[in-house]
Assembly symmetry: C2
Homo-oligomer: 222 residues x 2
């Protein structure tokens, strides 16, 4: 087996949900920049990047988050970097929003006629194909799905660099939304919390072997 | 900058949504096995792996999918490997389901008391923290989010191997669900279609430079 295949398998085997980070070890600026760039270059549906990433370093703010995010406590204590990924709400992701116009015009630099066709396609996708406009939640969860690509790419970049991580859904969404709004970190009209992650270096041996269903239970060839 | 940082950045820059695959080029078995293993080792909430992966190779079946999946047509024509990722429905992911019991007992090998604590925690997570049981859709979209980690890891593993890919949301969910059920590829009680992807080698130059919002619009440091 050649080197890159093995490098990939090693990284995915190295990664586990780190429960105890070594608080004395920091991820270097160069490495964290690489992890952020993996997030930044992540694909998203129609290229709309419906997300924002908070890198939380302030001790006081972390302390307040602690009690409403049970799954984040180990990362808040020991991880070198703590990240909260936000997803955009329907207000921003609906086909005729200012945000979608901004991305097509200012970021993707589409000529007007191309943008107009694209918006029509996106409208049909939202209204018909994925039925995303039926509720605030359906639209938000769609944007949130895109953020799980960001999450995965950050975890994988970290693992390739020998950096541990912990993906985190263990928090009360409503409380965290309110907290982030109160702290001035998020405008609830545009964003909601999607998922979190800690990055650093393990201060433990992994608790147990990685367990997975047999590949034959997961993959169907036809 | 050391080699691994550069390797990661190169891979994320190499990846783009390939619109035209070279139908004469195939991904080797070794490489596709690595891509599948990246999927297989993907993390999921509570480790419940609420997904299944269909590798679709049969020409007749592909032809039938063609008309209900506009975003998949280029991949169905030219990609070496075509993948449909399914997500599990509430029937399987609700805290007291047979599926959850199966994973905790047969895969994660948890002792009864550990599994029982875990199930209580998962129940509270579903009922309170993420309010996932409010609808079939909310529960399904949560499982679907986990499949976007699988998707991302397959795309990244491919990119690291110099293999092109195209992530695909361009299809009618209802039609594809019915199609997969009719083909005997999916039991609608347990699964729904989440997302698709093609893998192969580009038969085109990428249409345009990768566009992204400036990192400063996407990342908040606090």
């Amino acid at each position: 087996m050649n080197t890159m295949n093995q490098t990939i398998l090693n990284a995915f085997n190295f990664r586990y949900a780190c429960k105890q980070f070594d608080p004395k070890k920091s991820v270097s600026k160069e490495d964290f920049d690489t992890i952020l760039e993996a997030a930044h270059l992540s694909p998203s549906s129609f290229g709309f990047e419906p997300w924002k990433i908070i890198v939380l370093q302030d001790a006081e703010t972390k302390k307040k988050l602690y009690s409403i995010a049970w799954g984040a406590q180990n990362s808040l204590k020991g991880a070198s970097h703590f990240v909260i990924i936000l997803a955009r709400k329907k207000f921003d992701t609906i086909y005729n929003s200012n945000y979608i116009t901004h991305i097509m015009k200012d970021i993707q630099h589409m000529p007007n006629n191309v943008a107009s066709d694209r918006r029509e396609k996106f409208k049909r996708f939202q209204q018909v194909d994925f039925n995303l406009l039926e509720s605030e939640r359906a639209a938000f969860d769609w944007a949130s799905k895109q953020t799980y690509i960001v999450l995965a790419n950050m975890l994988t970049a970290a693992a390739l660099l020998g950096i541990d991580s912990c993906p985190i859904e263990g928090f009360n969404r409503e409380s965290v939304d309110r907290f982030l709004a109160d702290e001035g970190l998020m405008d609830e009209k545009h964003f909601g919390v999607s998922v979190m992650a800690g990055f650093g270096y393990r201060g433990e041996a992994p608790h147990r072997e990685k367990t997975r269903q047999p590949l034959s239970d997961v993959v169907i060839w036809k």
